[in-house]
């Protein structure tokens, strides 16, 4: 295809014969077939003529008519698909199986499929939604009337109409028009809720597919009305003599009701400063839902829904811009497990969030229970979590005490300690106006970046990576602006803490740097979990992560520790001295009161931060550093035998570290440093063995560190103030511990291979190769030397 012409130009150029009367095919339309095709002769050089407003690339997604693979109108249907009438009565077994199938297809949709090939393949849902759209526009108010199962398009003889009218008292007819109808309404309404959540906080196509065939999923219907109707229907079922089958029907209805109740957790307010007690009754329905699922899961599912009740009919019948697709259905077991997981996930974070009392717990909850565990979350549980954590009024978990602004301040104080002078100065009536004017937008930027970080945790792992990358830019910009501001305020107004005489601490910049380093490490290491690195890039990532980890350890060990120690010393010694020096009077009394607050509130928090940093964080990081160094060394030795490639090209180095290259502080390490780290001479066998022995010792040491940490997490009761639930944290460290053991074994095997091939080490790579596969921990794959076949 060459340069496209403008389609309107062709119309103008073409002169048509005067007499077109023969072309008129009816009163409204005129046949231009010949004129149009004759005009093609005006197109030269095989050009394509197109509208100015159309991008030819878009043309690739056009659906070719009369092509059976692309044209939905050519979908072949069974006679039963066309004759299936949603108005007909159905046996109780049919109704149960239809409802089961709808649960199955609902979870199939939430398993990354689309509505037309899942729930909308149900003729009842299609008819209900078509009628809802039609009758709503006609002004009908009654929900059950709006959602009729009577297909208005269906051709009905007088005889058929009379027959249907006489069925009003028929139980099987009522099972369809009472039970199945309200059940279908509940499922449809839940889909509507999911679509709304999906559009707002999830990603189209990658998390959820909200393609709705231009149908309105009962958006204007209040779920409370549906719940009320379900309860009435359940009562009606109890009046029938259906034996044990009434239990199944009621269970199905209740489960659909509990789906609708999920959003009620968004009205619950979590305290966040003390455990929110007696709240489990609010989510009792989540527990009940799990119980119902356990019952429904083991029911006999051999009875199939009536023929034609589920089909591809909707794809050729309603608005559809897609190609034909088969109905997508996950297995019976998977669908119940998935549904159970949805309720379980929500129950789990509801319970944990209600037990939160401090910032360390919140951070660990977000990191381990949510972010690192996100692959075990049902997509709707993730969506609801986003809305649960940050509410419309910007409060955190609906807490009356914590909103986004206070959350960010608390986060800062949880890292660098409270009583930050620059923030305290904001409460002074005589604060300098120029400080006030400048600090407000800076605090707003800080809040925005804090908000951005909060949106990362419940996203899918790929989005987490992308949002973390974006966060780096935000926090780097923050550091530049805050550092300049804090330094200026310190030099001009002498406001701010000091490390030593004349050297400011810059607490907020320190917090920003701390956050940024953590994000940088996350971005590097999570890439391993996402398998985005080539084998030859793994070394540079571990090497770079070690570099960042060293900086983080140094930051906490030096700047943060001395800053918090100073604050502790001041509260314990400096402040009481200051009070002593004052004469009795109101000021002294005021300071005494402050001293009391310092000792009762500020000091315990500072001590807690020190303990958290030194007893937990630094120990975990030290172990991780040892592990990274061991694996890096192992990789260098493997690469020296050409068993695993490690690049030595500066361009690849720059390309690989590009996501971090725009960061001002810390600087990227240089290529020379990287190249230097690779230096290893394997010509001396004993030397190589000695190096590997050292790596083995380092791994043993790492294992000891992890064992100690696990022991502390499991047994040290005072650690409980750092998290509300240690299950995921323990899993994390157990996996790391298993990783160390696994590397240790792989190292032994490699040493054995070296011993066996002592005389032929130069050609080791011709007989052996490295196999990289999923390991025990998301950040550490198994690196095994195996014999070539």
């Amino acid at each position: 295809m060459c340069n496209p012409l403008n389609i309107e130009d062709i119309d103008k150029k073409h002169t048509i014969s005067e007499d077109h009367e023969d072309d008129i095919i009816d009163d409204q339309y005129i046949d231009i077939t010949n004129d149009l095709f004759n005009s093609l002769s005006l197109i030269t050089d095989h050009q394509v003529v197109k509208s100015d407003y159309f991008n030819l690339l878009e043309g690739t997604r056009a659906i070719e008519v009369l092509n059976p693979r692309l044209d939905t109108a050519l979908i072949k249907l069974q006679p039963s698909d066309l004759s299936f009438n949603t108005n007909d009565k159905q046996s109780i077994d049919n109704v149960i199986s239809i409802q089961n199938k709808l649960f199955q297809l609902l979870m199939s949709w939430l398993n990354n499929s689309s509505l037309p090939v899942t729930v909308l393949s149900c003729r009842y849902i299609q008819t209900l939604l078509e009628n809802y759209t039609f009758t709503r526009n006609q002004g009908s108010k009654n929900l059950l009337d709006q959602c009729s199962f009577k297909n208005l398009r269906f051709f009905e003889t007088k005889e058929m109409q009379d027959k249907n009218q006489s069925l009003d008292d028929d139980v099987e007819y009522q099972l369809v028009h009472k039970v199945l109808k309200i059940f279908s309404i509940a499922i449809t309404k839940f889909i509507g809720i999911c679509i709304t959540i999906g559009v707002n906080v999830l990603y189209e196509e990658e998390d959820i597919n909200t393609r709705n065939m231009n149908l309105d999923f009962l958006t204007e219907v209040d779920e409370e009305i549906v719940i009320e109707q379900i309860d009435q229907c359940s009562e009606w079922i109890l009046t029938l003599n259906l034996q044990d089958k009434s239990d199944i029907l009621i269970s199905q209805l209740n489960l659909s009701k509990y789906l609708l109740k999920i959003v009620t957790i968004l009205n619950h307010k979590v305290n966040l400063t003390e455990p929110t007690e007696d709240n489990l009754h609010l989510v009792e329905f989540l527990l009940k839902a799990k119980q119902i699922i356990n019952v429904l899961k083991v029911q006999d599912n051999t009875h199939q829904p009536p023929s034609g009740s589920f089909s591809t009919f909707i794809q050729l019948d309603l608005d559809n811009k897609n190609i034909p697709s088969e109905i997508y259905e996950i297995s019976w077991e998977d669908s119940w497990n998935s549904l159970s997981r949805l309720f379980n996930n929500i129950l789990s974070y509801f319970k944990s969030s209600n037990a939160l009392t401090n910032h360390q717990q919140l951070q660990n909850f977000l990191k381990y229970d949510i972010s690192y565990n996100i692959e075990n979350f049902n997509v709707m549980a993730r969506g609801v979590f986003q809305l649960y954590i940050i509410r419309d009024d910007k409060s955190m978990f609906g807490s009356p005490n914590v909103n986004l602004s206070t959350y960010v301040i608390e986060e800062i104080e949880s890292i660098v300690g409270g009583n930050i002078m620059i923030l305290k100065s904001l409460q002074q009536p005589d604060i300098n106006k120029s400080i006030l004017e400048r600090i407000e937008p800076l605090l707003q930027d800080l809040e925005n970046s804090g908000y951005h970080n909060l949106t990362i945790y419940a996203q899918n792992p790929c989005r987490q990576q992308q949002l973390t990358s974006k966060a780096l830019l935000l926090w780097d910009t923050l550091q530049v602006s805050w550092e300049a501001f804090e330094f200026e305020v310190y030099s001009t107004f002498k406001i701010g803490e000091e490390i030593s005489e004349g050297v400011p601490t810059l607490p907020i910049s320190t917090f920003i740097y701390y956050t940024k380093l953590n994000l940088m490490i996350d971005l590097a290491m999570n890439g391993i979990a996402l398998d985005i690195y080539q084998d030859f890039e793994i070394y540079v990532i571990y090497w770079f992560s070690t570099y960042l980890l060293n900086l983080l350890i140094e930051l906490v060990n030096t700047r943060l520790t001395s800053n918090i120690n100073q604050k502790i010393t001041y509260i314990e010694k400096g402040f009481p001295k200051k009070i002593k020096k004052l004469k009795a009077g109101p000021k002294k009394e005021q300071l005494k009161l402050q001293n009391q607050i310092n000792n009762q509130e500020v000091l315990p928090k500072l001590i807690k931060i020190q303990r958290f940093n030194h007893e937990y964080l630094l120990n975990g990081w030290s172990a991780l550093k040892e592990l990274l160094e061991s694996v890096s060394c192992y990789l260098i030795v493997l690469s020296s035998f050409r068993l695993i490639p490690v690049f030595k090209d500066e361009l690849i180095f720059k390309l690989r570290l590009k996501p971090w290259s725009s960061i001002g502080v810390p600087n990227l390490p240089s290529f020379a440093e990287y190249k230097n780290s690779l230096k290893f001479d394997n010509s001396n066998f004993d030397n190589t063995k000695q190096i590997l022995t050292q790596v083995k010792l380092k791994l043993n040491n790492t294992l000891g560190l992890y064992k100690q940490l696990i022991h502390e997490i499991e047994n040290n009761e005072s650690f409980n103030e750092f998290w509300v639930n240690n299950e995921q944290i323990l899993l994390w460290y157990h996996q790391l511990s298993s990783t160390v053991k696994s590397y240790s074994q792989e190292l032994d095997q490699f040493v054995a291979i070296l011993n066996d091939n002592k005389s032929n080490l130069n050609s080791l790579s011709t007989s052996y190769k490295v196999q990289i596969s999923t390991g025990h921990h998301r950040h550490f794959p198994t690196i095994k030397v195996i014999k070539r076949k």
Partner: protein
């Protein structure tokens, strides 16, 4: 049938008795067309006495699938009498 500011709406009768109405967007030298914002009208599968219409978006129509191409009178005037 309406005509947008710069584009013309065509009604194409297909050989399988369906008709497609949409905005002519692309035409190649062989007479194959792309229509955007297309609506398909066919005999209602649930009631053969009625016609049924639905939106199918951007479609590619090979020349050999077309039976005839028509435009409404207003569009016709705009195209041919200017």
């Amino acid at each position: 049938m309406s005509t947008t500011k710069d584009s013309h709406s065509l009604k194409i009768n297909l050989k399988d008795s369906r008709s497609l109405t949409g905005i002519l967007t692309v035409i190649d030298p062989f007479g194959n067309l792309l229509l955007s914002n297309t609506y398909e009208t066919s005999i209602d599968k649930l009631n053969p006495n009625n016609l049924h219409s639905r939106e199918i978006g951007l479609v590619s129509i090979p020349k050999d699938t077309m039976k005839s191409i028509t435009v409404d009178k207003d569009t016709y005037k705009k195209i041919f009498k200017q």
